[in-house]
């Protein structure tokens, strides 16, 4: 079971002084998937990544990466050699040129993929002889991604890979990820608050809020299960207490009743029909709505 998971956390907790950054986080990242890790600023995304990569230790709970315990010092070294990581700030050695930093990084890894290096140098159109501190954020992001991709790793952890990028650069980064997973066997775990990126390329997601997992699963399943039902009545909408499974939230406003469900809309409509609505609509729910509704419930 867990050998098919690239990352697994069970009831992960992290306390900094007086604050609980993680309060029982559960993650199951299937091997070979592109996994979108969503949450607001301060939800605990970066803390989770730091624990996964052995940069900080959990206060309680377990984290396993590629089947190895992340809080074990020896295992953590193995995890890091098999994992590529691009942090949010895309920190690079400022005094090196693009070419120098590529050669410098390649020297550390015996499995360096020169074929991929050529491929991404070409598709990213990186200026080889320019110093990295003179690069735009878009170029720095692409260079950081190149350095991680060419290591030939099994797991790629990306912290906010498209943050601060314009739509064109962001599309290039996503395209490189998609291209990479279609030719290489690996798992991509990326944190973001850009829902559109997740919509586009992720198969599985987790939405976390205040250090807990709120929603997780295959994105297609979630898209299939979440429904918004809108009922219009002749007079004021009745105060219905729904017994249908999966009802998350009900709002009444004048003649309109809206209900959000994560178990389809049929049972809900069935139930509402007894109250004689004049119209009933079942609408798909976007990831953005799922996100906003989920993080709002916790407040």
């Amino acid at each position: 079971m867990s050998e098919s998971l690239a990352i697994e956390t069970v009831d992960l907790r992290k306390r900094f002084d007086a604050t609980d950054a993680l309060r029982g986080l559960n993650l199951r990242v299937p091997q070979g998937s592109i996994f979108g890790f969503l949450g607001r600023n301060g939800a605990g995304k970066t803390t989770t990544i730091k624990i996964l990569l052995g940069m900080t230790r959990p206060t309680a709970g377990q984290a396993r990466v590629l089947g190895l315990p992340a809080d074990d010092a020896t295992a953590s070294v193995t995890i890091r050699t098999r994992t590529g990581f691009v942090d949010e700030n895309k920190n690079l050695y400022d005094y090196m040129t693009v070419e120098e930093i590529i050669r410098f990084t390649a020297a550390f890894y015996s499995g360096w993929r020169h074929d991929l290096e050529k491929r991404y140098l070409r598709s990213f159109a990186l200026p080889l002889h320019q110093k990295t501190n003179a690069l735009s954020l878009g170029m720095r992001s692409k260079l950081s991604l190149l350095l991680a991709l060419c290591r030939g790793v099994e797991l790629l952890v990306l912290d906010e890979p498209t943050s601060g990028l314009d739509p064109a650069a962001s599309e290039e980064v996503l395209q490189a990820i998609v291209t990479h997973v279609s030719t290489e066997q690996l798992t991509v775990f990326f944190s973001t608050h850009h829902l559109a990126d997740v919509d586009q390329i992720a198969e599985h997601i987790a939405i976390i809020d205040a250090g807990r997992t709120i929603v997780s699963g295959a994105l297609d399943d979630l898209r299939g299960q979440y429904r918004r039902v809108q009922l219009v009545f002749n007079g004021e909408a009745p105060d219905i207490t729904f017994h249908a499974p999966g009802v998350i939230r009900v709002r009444r406003q004048g003649r309109v009743l809206t209900a959000l469900s994560n178990a389809g809309g049929d049972a809900l409509i069935e139930e509402a029909m007894r109250f004689g609505p004049v119209s009933a609509d079942v609408l798909p729910v976007t990831l953005k709505e799922i996100f906003l509704e989920s993080v709002a419930v916790e407040d």
Binding site: S33, I34, E171, L174, Q175, V178, T179, V181, S182, T183, L195, A196, D199, Q200, I201, A202, E203, L219, D220, R223, G224, Y226, G265, D266, I269, M273, S279, A280, D281, V282, L283, P284, V285, T286, L287, K288, E289
Partner: protein, 133 residues
């Protein structure tokens, strides 16, 4: 490219892709024996997950719409192809729908309102006592 799924629609991308392939066959844009783009090139072009394309192709094969030939790619199947008559009637229906949409837009309705009207009508919601979905 005839395929253009909208990832933020809330509808699984593989389902959108399936619909678009079926529509391309109905309108005759794709004919029996035509080759569909490969999984990888299509995923790269649309910037979506290759597994999403693979899933759409698998489901289309299951529905008999396309054939996956090992190592050669995906092809529009002969048996699934609608008769020319059906393809023609779908094609001639297109201007009728286009004209209706144009008139509704002129009345100031948004595309989203128009879409809902179409869906409610198809679901029989406007019939007396009718219910949708």
């Amino acid at each position: 490219m005839i395929f253009r799924p909208n990832p933020s629609l809330g509808v699984p991308i593989y389902l959108q892709l399936m619909e678009q392939v079926k529509h391309a066959i109905e309108t005759g844009a794709l004919r029996p024996g035509d080759q569909l783009p490969g999984i990888r090139p299509l995923a790269e072009e649309l910037v979506i997950n290759p597994n999403t394309v693979a899933k759409a192709y698998r489901e289309l094969e299951h529905d008999g719409v396309i054939e996956l030939r090992h190592g050669a790619g995906a092809f529009v199947s002969g048996q699934a192809a609608r008769s020319k008559k059906t393809a023609d009637s779908v094609r001639t229906a297109q201007p009728i729908v286009a004209a209706a949409i144009q008139r509704l837009r002129e009345r100031g309705l948004t595309d989203e309102e128009i879409r809902r009207l179409f869906e409610a009508e198809l679901a029989g919601l406007t019939k007396a006592g009718g219910r949708g979905v």
